[in-house]
Symmetry: C2
Subunit: 380 residues, 2 copies
DNA sequence: AAACTTATGTTAAATGCTTTACAAAAGGTT
DNA sequence: AACCTTTTGTAAAGCATTTAACATAAGTTT
């Protein structure tokens, strides 16, 4: 597809928060005459705005330009395992509205979807209809993009096959994108923290265990959207442990929040939630610490396998289990550096997430901006 | 980068062996006037040729065009673990010259490189210098692309850090591309057999075990070029088996040709090479069959993990160990379908390679054509 | 044979972009 | 103040490509 000049200029800002007119020439390959003219048009249309005057390089200061954050907005419904977050962000990815409530997912789609749309409508009150570019929905399960539904979700009982995308599309009459929650997290971590890293694995250890993959700079979803399913790598060392996925010996059947809780219950501990587990860990209980370390070791095995196979330069470890104790990350590092091949671990860094709890919403915003604004060349 | 019209027309043929003028319009987006004019130029320059007249659709027959196979040639040196194959292919990927000799790699780069260049020079005798587009070198070890050398190769003693690319570049004064052997195989299998498949894993079980990954339609090399290292996934079930990579419990330390040979030697069998092993298998020896099945099972574990992580639609199993008995592929299938998640295995097919022993050379030809002809826009 | 269909060629006018050349704006240096 | 540098604007000429319109080639259908 051949893009118009104005579309090319706009696209140049994808990945570059600000650009001077000269930098736009370099990125787009357009001539100064064209850039000058197109930028003026885009300023008139308020698609671009003038940002800072940059420090002089011995001559006239360059004038940094940016996409006008208020030129469009993205609606977000982020269903995590334990909460629904509804948000609205602008084109700079800044969260303008946010509302968070507990556990709508368990009530099933019949109750949760109307509630979610209602909240989103409220959150969008201040936004002109024409400026709503689209909606991103995050869900804690495998997503089938061609239908816009979740398939075989382990923790979304009653949601299997429900056309979530259609529901929002019918209500809001804008493009809707459904995406897995961990995929949104890895997008956030990549775009906002490590944009220059080509290959990155994001591992989330919470109630369940999942991962998201950035490969050659782009989110990799796999053929059925189930790529990154690191939680169900099977370890023979576990010998016979049943997993909630129906198999046995999955990493998740030992190292996940739910598995640890089951195990501790069996040992007579009073733990019901991951929060209980984290609290217990903070007390320094010897048995809990031992179990947590063992769990980290097994995750380490799975991560080492993934590192051998994918040879990334960065692995980000996140989640309430990972953050329960510093030992978790340390143990994972030990195991990976011991097990992964010398070549694959040479330039590898294993780090905690640098983002806060809004990372899912941030990732949804990024995805929405890229999908609805930068890819959809109706802005011209 | 903005390509010239003629470059765009040429690029259209990448992935399409033949195109009519109308199809070129569709693929490039260029107008009929431009296509008509550019095609005429390219025919005059003998870069394109007229291929068949297609069957009529109720009117004038369309005239299929193709890249002139004789417009350029690719030189190939393919070092496998056991042999060197020197070849020359044309732009259609057809092998015009081929010479194969045993085991130069073990003699080290000082002897092997001059020999390889000498043979390649002989193979290129009939080709005008200006038509040699470039040279592709295949090697059985991890490749560092930015230097053009192998790093930490387990089976290329004395080659570590030797700048192979530079050697050929100095001799032939053309672009040279160094690539891992299994990566070349997966390119061949993808481009020639399954071009429409987006995500594919190629597993080679021979003396060693390796794999190549096609992700979103393109070869994935990883950050250090070591992606696909499935042979050194570690299985705890193996408990303490040392591997030649320095670690222990790698799949390769049990399921590879060398590991099986070691094991059989320990049991008193007279096996020295993988060929001996294959011969022995054909006799139907119970112990050997049992060991081979066990080996297949372990490979199956590693493949299942890779399937969970990458969610491909096709896994190709190849190599002399894989082909030693039908049971090997059958066992791998059983294990993968049992262990991989329901979603990831839903549309998954596990198949043997459809190509013959020239697959490495074929892949090198494909890579060379794409790198030197379709990407290098000096043809304009 | 006449009529229709599909594939391709060609001409002329219009469009969009680049190149070239000249200018101006806005800073720093001496 | 005089002179340099960097950044941006703009007008004129040229080039490549598209659009539109007409034409031709080569087949099928009736």
């Amino acid at each position: 597809m051949v893009l118009s000049s104005s579309a090319r200029v706009i696209s140049a800002f994808n990945g570059h928060p600000t650009l001077t007119r000269q930098e736009i020439q370099d990125v787009t390959g357009l001539s100064r005459v064209t850039v000058s003219q197109v930028v003026q048009e885009l300023l008139d249309e308020k698609i671009l705005i003038e940002a800072d005057l940059l420090p002089s390089n011995g001559g006239r200061k360059a004038n940094a330009l940016a996409v006008n954050p208020k030129h469009g907005f993205v609606g977000i419904c982020y269903f995590s395992a334990t909460a629904l977050t509804v948000a609205v962000t602008d084109l700079a990815g800044e969260i303008k509205e946010k509302r968070r409530d507990m556990n709508l997912i368990e009530e099933g789609p019949k109750k949760a979807l109307p509630k979610a749309t209602e909240w989103l409508q409220e959150a969008l009150k201040g936004i002109p209809k024409s400026k709503l570019l689209g909606i991103v929905i995050g869900v804690p399960g495998p997503v089938e993009h061609k239908t816009g539904s979740v398939i075989n979700p382990p923790i979304m009982r009653g949601w299997d096959g429900v056309n979530i995308q259609e529901h929002f599309k019918n209500t809001f009459k804008v493009p809707v994108f459904l995406e897995n929650d961990v995929n949104l997290m890895v997008i956030a971590e990549h775009r906002l923290v490590y944009p220059e890293i080509e290959n990155l694995i994001f591992v989330k250890m919470s109630t369940g265990i999942g991962s998201g993959l950035i490969i050659d700079g782009r989110l990799y979803r796999g053929s059925q959207g189930s790529a990154g399913d690191i939680g169900h790598v099977q370890l023979d060392a576990l010998k016979g442990l049943p997993c909630r996925c129906g198999h046995h010996d999955c990493v998740e059947s030992f190292s996940s929040g739910w598995a640890l809780i089951e195990k501790l219950k069996g040992l007579g501990y009073d733990v019901k939630t991951v929060s209980d587990l984290v609290t217990l860990t903070r007390t320094g209980d010897v048995e809990v610490t031992r179990l947590l370390n063992e769990a980290a070791g097994y995750i380490g095995h799975a991560v080492a396998d993934a590192v051998n196979l994918l040879n990334p330069t960065k692995v980000v470890i996140q989640g309430r289990i990972a953050e329960a104790s510093d030992r978790v990350l340390a143990t994972i590092k030990e195991v990976v550096y011991q097990r992964a091949s010398a070549l694959a671990s040479k330039n590898l860094e294993i780090v905690p997430s640098k983002l806060d709890e809004d990372r899912g919403v941030n990732g949804a915003a990024q995805l929405g901006i890229e999908e609805f604004f930068f890819s959809n060349r109706s802005n011209a």
